[in-house]
Amino acid sequence: MALLGQRSDVGEFRRRYRWLVLVAVSAFLVLVGRLAQLQLVQGDVHRAQARKNIIRERSLATTRGVIRDAQGRVLAANRPSYNVHMTPAEVDLTETWPAVVKMLGIDEPEKGELERKIKEIQALPSKGLTPFEEKRRNQQILLKVDVDRDAVAYLETHARELKGIEVSPQPVRYYPYGELGAHSIGYMREVGAEDLVRLEERGYRAGDRLGAIGVERRWESYLRGVRGFKKIVRGVSRRDDVQEVEARYLEEPRRVEPIPGRDISLTLDIDLIASIDKAFRGQLAGAVVVVDVRTGRVLAASSKPSFDANVASGGSGVKAVAETFRRLNADPLKPSLDKSISAAYPPGSTYKPFSALAALSDRIIDPDTEVDCRGGYEYGKRFFRCTGVHRKVHLHQAIVQSCNTYFYELGSRVSIDRLAAVGIDYGFGVKTGIGINPEARGRMPTRSWYTRRYKEAFRGGFTLLSAIGQGATTVTVLQLALAYAALANGGTLYQPQVVRSIETSDGTVVQDFPPRVRRLIEPNQEQLGWVKSALEGVVTEKEGTAYKERSTDVDMAGKTGTAQVSHVTPRGVDPGKVWYFNRDHAWFSGYAPAKSPEIAIVVLVEHGGGGGKNAVPIAMRVVRDWQKMKEKRLSSKEDQASARGKPN
């Protein structure tokens, strides 16, 4: 039988074969053309991408520099800490999970939330996921930061059974002295999303920490160090030809070691700060600054209330940080404010020495100028009150007894601009340039300032108020300390310093900061002598405002101050019962020892009431402690010297 023979007429197709061949060949040519584009033209780009796919740069953590005080005691360091992560896909919810929850002390609502997440992820299929889902499946969830040793020990010994639970070391910044000097030393915070935009090019990544305030912030770039990296081939640990594979794909340098951050030695003395803290215990809020009058180095700066830098840095967990800051920000005593640097207050009578120097240098008064104090001063239609009735006073008694009437008289003779000019000479109204924390400028009001501010004719009464450190005059605690240091050292205004030197981690000094003079004020030494002898009288003379609270074993000169805030304390009411925030600020500014000064100290007790009663005892205690420390250090040095001197 014939197969299909008679019906075959293939002629119809003839003309179409050529077209089919043409279409087929050109389609293949298109494919080859695209291949040439991918493999030849863009080959390098794709090769680079392919390498990028398999190579991971694992960063090698650096260690942050240590901060030490003037005596070499560690103020900020790094301590090991352990975080616990879990991989939800691997967790055994029924067998081991309850034990983990109990060991870590995870509370009920958090436990529920975590279990929901675990179930959700475990419900995902193990195959056929998009890379995004894959990532989600393999992600780790932070269970708890900084777990205690017992928990770490438990988790490590049971590591085999506890699938999906992982303990990883993560150094945490540690401040051995907690609240002491926290404002100056600073604390650490996590880099925020908006910071990252700015900081990314400087090598910061999400989850990194940086100094939030104080030295930690100002010297961040020194303390931080440089992260290293190690290139690895993805998943290479699973392969048995690790060396070969790495040699093939990794370009040099395959590993760059991290550079540890620089260590920083401060001028601060933590013992002195501790002493301040102790002396301040009876008071709620305030600040103390102690500077070396011969160098301008800040020996102590303290602001109360303070906060625990460890908690603020996250040493007790993220939740504790949020909780702490909520509390700090709600506190009317403003614990987060550095009151030694960032806030300006009316100086009150502690400013009187500078008013006196202004008048003396203009020869408006001399030590024999006599003013009769009858409890106040009439000027125009107003009566300016004094702290008491001092009768006939000269400059010396006026400072010793803090007679306002004398200074009102002085203020009626001197121009306000002249008072301001002398103030600025001593560093008031200008930022000191300490470098840490946002600095308040304070204010030395001038005639033009008043006319600009009040848009009316200048009144002489403003000058009277300026002369006693009230009115619009404000200063920072640090400015006052430096100005008193300048009084003490005969007229040298120093730039305040907190950092003494920068060292590498092995102790080699990289940079050293010698004292820097801001200005030589060059006051008339005779006039300065009169003022200084009055400052000694404040403490040593029977009428002196600090006399009652003096310690006989403390050799100190200075001036008390009671600065009014907004409202005048009503008469006849027990100061303790006046609404706290209407109370006067209590001040004491001085230097010690009186005859050959080494340190200047300023104590501000916010709303403390009278300066003599409240600020002086604190200053006395601190200076007494300082004297003791000095003696101890001297004798131990002598011991060392004599020990070294001995043969054998």
Partner: protein, 373 residues
């Protein structure tokens, strides 16, 4: 009649060595490439699975090869009579999938028989080619065909295509339609009819996009048009494939050295993207050689068709050539990013029993026609 028959077998059918050589080359290259694709670094369980895949593919080749010899041995002209029967059987199996099928990733494609997974839509490709060839053979009028003339082949095509699309398997539906359309283009069709068909085709695509298509199918197409936009899903697959191919550069990374493949960046490297594996290992030169062989088979199929003694043989050869052509162009096209990612296999490179057997049987048919021209 008997004389004519005897005259035809005067010298006896001789094996076409050129075609055989080309097919053996592709089979060898496909197995070598699959070895690379299944040697990726993975955990023990995964490696065992991959080794399994490789061995299975070797079996597939052997089974397909034997079937191809069988198919080639019997004069193709006998098949004309059975075309209708096997076509109907194929359509029945495609329908049976919905009853017995096992589903993977939301698509029902397989019928499980013992430990074998049968994919009727793959076999349907050859069966449809046979059926259309039969239709063309019997439809030998001289004037150009009108729309009415195309109703029967249209139904023949649309029934299996509809069933396959409903599974849903867009790739196979596309291949079926394109292959059958290519075969019909061999015959003379009126210009107006052709234009009308094209216009309505566009309309159908529009309708399908708005009403008929599943979201994941649309996603594939949108991610093709804008792969950068969707770096996590399907667009990511396409980008990784292009990276792999580009990484091959001129000479390739070397056998089993392509990092995109070795480090698991190629999704479905043994089924959807074997070409990327090949291109990364062997580079541009290797690709040109490989595409050259595929191109040779396609062109050679047309050559065989042009020399066929009857309409059935000519249409059959053209159909097999078209099948190989569309598979290759779509698979390579999606790997190099000029066509959207649709699940179309690369003949004899992609892993899959049904696909390999179908391709080899198809090539057996081509050989058959070639031997008897």
């Amino acid at each position: 009649m008997a004389v004519a028959s005897r005259m035809m077998f005067k010298r006896g059918p001789a094996v076409d060595m050129r075609l055989l050589f080309a097919v053996v080359l592709i089979v060898t290259a496909g197995l070598v490439n699959l070895y690379s694709a299944t040697s990726v670094y993975a955990d023990t369980a995964m490696r065992a699975r991959l080794a399994d895949i490789y061995v299975t593919q070797v079996y597939n080749m052997v089974v397909g090869g034997l079937l191809a010899i069988l198919v080639a041995a019997i004069d193709y002209r006998h098949y004309e009579r059975f075309a209708m029967l096997v076509y109907a059987g194929g359509v029945f199996l495609c329908g049976l999938v919905f009853v017995l099928g096992s589903s993977t990733r939301g698509a029902v494609r397989w019928i499980q028989i013992g430990s074998f997974n049968l994919q009727p839509s793959e076999f349907m490709k050859v069966l449809l080619v046979l059926m259309i060839a039969r239709h063309i053979h019997n439809d030998h009028k001289n004037e150009p065909r009108t729309l009415v003339d195309l109703v029967i082949p249209g139904v023949l095509i649309l029934v299996p295509v509809g069933l396959v699309m409903a599974q849903p398997d867009l790739g196979t539906g596309l291949i079926l339609s394109l292959t059958a359309a290519t075969m019909l283009m061999m015959t003379r069709i009126r210009r107006r009819t052709l234009t009308a068909l094209l216009v309505s085709g566009v309309g159908v695509v529009w309708l399908a996009w708005n009403h008929g298509m599943k979201q994941y199918q649309k996603d594939r197409i949108t991610s093709f048009l804008d792969p950068e936009h969707d770096k996590t899903g399907i667009g990511w697959h396409a980008l990784q494939s292009q990276t792999a191919i580009g990484n091959g550069q001129l000479l390739g990374e070397g056998f089993m050295q392509g990092t995109q493949n070795q480090f698991g960046f190629l999704p479905d490297q043994f089924s959807d993207f074997p070409f990327a594996v090949f291109a990364e290992d062997w580079g541009f030169l290797g690709c040109v050689v490989l595409l050259g062989i595929y191109c040779f088979i396609c062109v050679y199929a047309i050559h065989v068709a042009s020399q066929a003694k009857d309409r059935f043989g000519a249409a059959l050869a053209t159909g097999i050539g078209a099948l190989i052509f569309w598979h290759t162009v779509f698979n390579v096209g999606m790997a190099i990013g000029v066509l959207p990612v649709v699940g179309v296999t690369l003949p004899l490179f992609s892993y899959g029993g049904s696909s390999v057997v179908t391709t080899l049987v198809g090539l057996g048919l081509l050989m058959n026609v070639s031997m008897r021209r």
